[in-house]
Subunit: 216 residues, 2 copies
């Protein structure tokens, strides 16, 4: 029995490690997508677009592994809940990869043009940095189960929401001179970064709930 | 054993019924949200916003029930897979409710104004009708496991994508006279309807996979 429990524990650890790997992958993808769009780097945009299938593959493999563990180990109570939560977290992380991919696709669509007006570059740089930081921190939350840091992710998301509001405010300024196409691109881009951060918050909240049994 | 199997089968049926109930709720919410925004009906918009918590509650209750069934019945193979899939479908359906809620929030934000320029009303009427139809059909797919109809949902989604492209095309016309704020609203609204349909497709694909063991 001790041996079985230990094998099971190893399996749970490996699930957790795969989730952390996914956070690294999506942190890298949003960072590269941001650089690609800010430097109109088509090659980098293509790289982000291609790499999304690696994220999808790891997520599918992880989901199959979780279902296999459930079938073999027949977990109950907190172990079952941890596995179900891991399934949900993997879906959030996969979606974060999709959102990076969407950013890169706008970079590709507008290449060799610049999808982002020059005066908004610093704002998108901040959104990219915030998104990468939040994805990275979410990985640390998963691996350490640090509930303080899970709460920090919520605060980082408030920062992202603030940047998002500033972005919409800039587009709505009476002297907006970049036209409607640019407004559409920027609205979608803003939404992608905002949703990226929302999914990270969702993952951190799930860890918080697993550890404490309550919602923050 | 026959008795236990029968109890389990009843439980699976009840999970399936709750998923169908969720499809009815989100079909109703997107229909009402569309009417609210097209008729600048604040009361109806508030109703959709308030009703989202009913959708969330049913989804949470359903998730707890699924986890409880897993713990008690210790399903393997196809039964386990059906329950894990039900968890994912419930998440898709809950998200569809969120998207209706987002549409209703734009109706509320712009009230007593009309968020949608008059000439685009027919297009949004079509998007609303398509979204409601797709949600309803997804419910039938869940309850009947009709794979032909699951494929129809994909085609209905192609129709939604076409409407979405037409919408973006209209905003980009050189004679666009509704300004940037309207362009932002319509970009977001278009995205909400498109994502609503995407989640319905995701649910139908999961049913297709459960029945056939392959992806369409």
């Amino acid at each position: 029995m001790a041996l079985i429990r230990s094998v099971f524990q190893d399996e749970l650890d490996s699930v957790s490690q795969s989730l952390v790997d996914l956070t690294s992958m999506v942190a890298e993808s949003i960072d590269k997508a941001t650089t690609a769009i800010l430097t109109t780097d088509l090659k980098l945009a293509e790289e982000v677009i291609a790499a999304d299938s690696n994220i999808d593959s790891l997520q599918h493999e992880l989901e199959s592994r979780i279902i296999d563990i459930m079938a073999r180990q027949q977990p109950v109570a907190s172990d079952l809940r941890a596995l179900v939560t891991a399934l949900r977290m993997s879906a959030d992380l996969e979606r974060m990869g999709d959102l990076s991919h969407h950013v890169a696709k706008i970079a590709r669509l507008r290449h060799p043009g610049d999808a982002i007006p020059l005066e908004l570059h610093p704002m998108f740089q901040s959104m990219g940095t915030a998104a990468q930081k939040i994805a990275h921190k979410t990985g640390v939350v998963i691996s350490t189960r640090n509930t303080e840091m899970a709460l920090e992710v919520e605060r980082d998301d408030d920062e992202m929401d603030k940047l998002h509001r500033q972005l919409i405010g800039s587009i709505l300024e009476p002297n907006w001179k970049h036209g409607v196409e640019s407004a559409i691109d920027l609205t979608l881009l803003g939404r992608y970064y905002e949703r990226f951060a929302d999914h990270a918050v969702s993952v951190s909240r799930r860890v918080y709930f697993l550890v404490t049994g309550t919602y923050a």
